[in-house]
C-alpha cells in the first residue's frame, strides 16, 4: 500500500529540513499579505529548535509549510534533501506519515476513542496490520508513562495525559522530526514542564524537535532559537543558558 520514497532515511549529508526563499502570501481584499516572506534556513538532525514570534509573525505558517501541511506560494522546502514542491498530495501524505510527527496545541485526539486506537491512527495509513498497530501503540504509550491509561478515552484523561497520548501518536511511526505547535498552550505551568521534559528526553535520544511557541520559558528549553517577525527571521541563535526541565520533571515522577 505504501510506496517507499526514493530518498533513504539515512541521507545524513543533507540537512533534515531546508527552506530556500520560502514565501507564503495571501490575498486579502485586493491586498497581498506575505505571511512568510523569503525565509531560507536549514535544520540539522538532532537539533532542538524553538520557533518564536508573536501572533501573526508567520511562525505557524512557516511550521505548516515545513510540515508539508501547507503549500508555499514560492520557494522550496526540502525534507531530508528531497524537494517537496513537485510532490502529489498522496506523496506528501506518505511523507508526513513516515517522517514527521505532529503535536498540536488542542491535542486533536479522536473523541470516544481509546488511547491505543488514537495512537494507532498513523499506522493505519502506513498499512500496518492490526496486531502490530496495537503492539506498537501500547509500546509508545508505555514510553509516555501511560501504561495504565491504554483504554481510556480522551474525556477520561487530564490535559497532560492527553498531550502525552498525542506525543505517543506523533512518535509511533518513528519519524525523523517532531513538530509541536504551541504544545503547552492549553496546559498549566507544571504540566507544561512535564511535556518539555519529555521533549528534552526525546531530543537526547536523537529525535529532532521543533517547537513553535510565543512563551520565552518554553523556548528556553531549546538549543536553538529562531525568532520571526512580519514573515521574516529576525533572530537565529544558539541558546546558552538552557533551562533543563528533565531533572525537575523526573523529581515529579514522570
Amino acid at each position: 500500500m505504501m510506496a517507499t520514497p526514493a530518498t533513504p532515511r539515512t541521507a545524513t549529508d543533507q540537512p533534515l529540513i531546508e527552506t530556500r526563499k520560502l514565501v507564503k502570501s495571501y490575498n486579502l481584499g485586493g491586498e497581498t499579505i506575505h505571511a512568510v516572506n523569503g525565509v531560507s534556513l536549514s535544520i540539522e538532525r538532532g537539533e532542538y529548535v524553538a520557533i518564536m514570534g508573536t501572533s501573526g509573525s508567520g511562525k505557524s505558517t512557516f511550521m505548516n509549510m515545513i510540515g508539508c501541511l501547507d503549500v508555499p506560494t514560492s520557494g522550496q522546502v526540502l525534507i531530508d534533501g528531497t524537494p517537496t514542491a513537485s510532490m502529489s498530495s498522496d506523496e506528501l501524505a506518505s511523507l508526513r506519515n513516515e517522517k514527521i510527527g505532529f503535536v498540536f496545541q488542542q491535542f486533536n485526539l479522536l473523541a470516544r476513542t481509546s488511547s491505543i486506537d488514537n495512537v494507532a491512527v498513523p499506522l493505519i495509513y502506513a498499512g500496518i496490520d492490526k496486531a502490530e498497530r496495537r503492539e506498537r501503540a501500547i509500546a509508545k504509550l508505555r514510553d509516555m508513562g501511560l501504561g495504565d491509561r491504554l483504554l481510556n478515552t480522551p474525556a477520561k484523561l487530564s490535559g497532560g495525559q492527553q498531550q502525552r497520548v498525542a506525543i505517543a501518536r506523533a512518535l509511533v511511526t518513528e519519524p525523523l522530526v517532531l513538530l509541536a505547535d504551541e504544545p503547552t498552550g492549553a496546559l498549566d505551568t507544571r504540566t507544561s514542564e512535564e511535556i518539555m521534559a519529555i521533549f528534552e528526553k526525546l531530543n537526547a535520544a536523537g529525535i529532532t524537535v521543533i517547537v513553535v511557541t510565543h512563551e520565552d520559558e518554553i523556548a528556553d528549553h531549546a538549543k536553538r532559537r529562531i525568532e520571526f517577525r512580519d514573515g521574516k527571521v529576525i533572530e537565529d541563535r544558539l541558546v546558552k543558558n538552557r533551562t533543563v526541565a528533565s531533572a525537575h520533571a523526573e523529581a515529579e515522577g514522570v
Binding site: S89, D90, R96, Y125, G127
Partner: protein
C-alpha cells in the same frame, strides 16, 4: 490484497464508530433508505406475484391450446354465406391436417336456468364434445364426463361444476339426480374437478352438456346454420410450436373457405402463448409503474443520506485535517466517508428488505396473492442500497477528500 482488506475493515470500523456517535441521526437517516428499499422490494415482488398468478391462471385453462373464433364478414352489407363460419367439419379438418394437434373441441355457450325441487341457479352453460374436458384441463372427477354416445343421441345429461352443484344440492351427492333446465328434465351424470377462481370469475360455476343437446334445445335458432359453432379449441401436444400451429390452423381454414391473400381473414386464432405474452407485457407495465413510484421514496432516502453525509463532513472537518496530517491520503478520506454512507444504506436496506419479506409473507398468507421475495430480489435490493449509498455519499466523500489539510485542521 490482505492490506486492501485490512484498510477496508478499518474503514468499516471507523464508519460504525461515527454512526454510533450520532445514533439517533443515523437511525433517522437509515429510515429513509429503509422505507425506499421496502417500497421498491415490495413493488418488484407484487409485480412478480401478479405475473406468477396470471401464468397459473392461464395454465389452469390448458397451457398448450389455440382458440378459434369465427368473425362473420358483414362489411359493405355483403352477405356472409360461408365466410366467417366455423363448423365441426372444420375441426375435423384441423385435427387431420395440422401437425401437433391432439384434439379439438367445439363450444356453444348459453346462460341457462337450472331448477331442483329446493333450489335454482342461473349458470353459464357449455355444450361441447368429450375432448373438451382434457383440452381445457377441466375433467370430471365424480361420476362421468359426456361421451360420444351422449353427443350422438343429444342426451339430456349434465356435468355440474362444484359451485353449481353446491347451489342446487348442498352437501348432497347430485350424481344420478334430476335437474330441470329451462323446464326440460336433465340427469346429472358427473361432477367437474374443483378449479377455483381466476380474476374473480368462479370457474366452478358452470355446467357441461353434449353440444347436440345445447344446439337442439337452447341455441340452435341463434346460429346461422345447423352445424355452426360459437368457437372452438384445439389442443396441441407438449412441445409443439404454437406460433406454427396458429399459422397452420389459419391456412387450413383459409383453404377451406377460399380466402384469398389480401382479404380480411374471417377467423381469429389466438393461442395461450399469446395470452401469456400479452399478460406478461401488462403485468410488466404494472410492475414498472409500481417500481417507478416506489423509487421516488428511495430517491428521497438517498438525498437524506447525501444531506447527512454533508453535515457529517462539515462537523468532522477538523478530524479530516488531523487524519491528513497523520498520513491519510485523499483516497483514504474519500473511502472512509463512502463506507460510512454505504454502511448506512446497507443497514437500512437490510431492515427494509426484512420488513418487505414480512409484508410479502403476510400478503401471500392472508390476501391470497403471491408476493414472492426470492433470493435474486433480496440480493438485488441489498446491492441496490449499497449503490444508493455510494452514489449519494460520493459527492460528500469527494468533497471531504479535497479539503486542504491545513484549512481542515484550522476549522473550529
Amino acid at each position: 490484497m490482505e492490506k486492501w482488506l485490512a484498510s477496508w475493515s478499518v474503514n468499516i470500523a471507523i464508519a460504525f464508530t461515527a454512526l454510533r456517535t450520532n445514533l439517533m441521526r443515523s437511525i433517522l437517516t437509515m429510515l429513509g433508505v429503509l422505507i425506499g428499499v421496502f417500497a421498491v422490494t415490495l413493488a418488484v415482488a407484487v409485480g412478480n406475484g401478479a405475473q406468477v398468478s396470471v401464468m397459473q391462471s392461464i395454465n389452469s385453462f390448458g397451457s398448450n391450446m389455440a382458440i378459434i373464433v369465427p368473425e362473420p364478414d358483414n362489411e359493405g352489407g355483403r352477405r356472409s354465406f360461408d365466410r366467417g363460419r366455423l363448423t365441426q367439419r372444420d375441426l375435423r379438418a384441423i385435427e387431420r391436417e395440422v401437425p401437433g394437434v391432439i384434439a379439438t373441441a367445439p363450444q356453444l355457450r348459453s346462460t341457462l336456468d337450472l331448477v331442483t325441487p329446493g333450489a335454482n341457479a342461473t349458470t353459464s352453460s357449455v355444450g361441447t364434445t368429450p375432448g373438451y374436458g382434457s383440452i381445457t384441463h377441466h375433467p370430471a372427477d365424480r361420476g362421468r364426463y359426456i361421451t360420444e354416445a351422449d353427443v350422438r343421441s343429444a342426451a339430456r345429461v349434465l356435468v355440474l361444476g362444484r359451485t353449481t352443484a353446491e347451489t342446487l344440492f348442498g352437501e348432497f351427492d347430485p350424481v344420478g339426480e334430476s335437474v330441470r333446465v329451462d323446464g326440460v328434465p336433465f340427469q346429472v351424470i358427473g361432477l367437474l374437478e374443483e378449479k377455483g377462481s381466476t380474476f374473480g370469475t368462479d370457474n366452478d360455476d358452470t355446467v357441461v352438456m353434449p353440444i347436440s343437446t345445447m344446439r337442439q334445445r337452447f341455441v340452435g335458432d341463434t346460429l346461422p346454420g345447423p352445424d355452426d359453432l360459437q368457437l372452438a379449441f384445439a389442443g396441441f401436444e407438449e412441445g409443439a410450436s404454437l406460433v406454427q400451429g396458429k399459422i397452420d390452423i389459419t391456412n387450413v381454414l383459409k383453404d377451406r373457405y377460399r380466402v384469398r391473400d389480401g382479404e380480411i381473414n374471417p377467423f381469429r386464432v389466438r393461442t395461450t402463448q399469446e395470452f401469456m405474452e400479452e399478460s406478461q407485457f401488462i403485468t410488466g407495465i404494472l410492475q414498472a409503474v409500481l417500481v417507478a413510484i416506489a423509487s421516488i421514496s428511495l430517491l428521497v432516502g438517498g438525498i437524506g443520506i447525501m444531506n447527512i453525509m454533508l453535515v457529517s463532513v462539515t462537523e468532522r472537518t477538523r478530524e479530516i485535517g488531523l487524519r491528513m496530517a497523520l498520513g491519510a491520503k485523499r483516497s483514504d478520506i474519500r473511502n472512509q466517508f463512502l463506507v460510512e454512507a454505504a454502511v448506512l444504506c446497507v443497514l437500512g436496506g437490510a431492515v427494509g428488505l426484512a420488513l418487505a419479506w414480512l409484508a410479502g409473507t403476510a400478503l401471500t398468507a392472508y390476501a391470497d396473492f403471491p408476493v414472492p421475495i426470492g433470493v435474486g430480489v433480496a440480493i438485488g435490493s441489498l446491492i441496490f442500497s449499497a449503490v444508493i449509498g455510494l452514489a449519494f455519499g460520493g459527492y460528500p466523500a469527494v468533497r471531504a477528500s479535497r479539503l486542504s489539510p491545513i484549512e481542515a485542521l484550522r476549522t473550529e
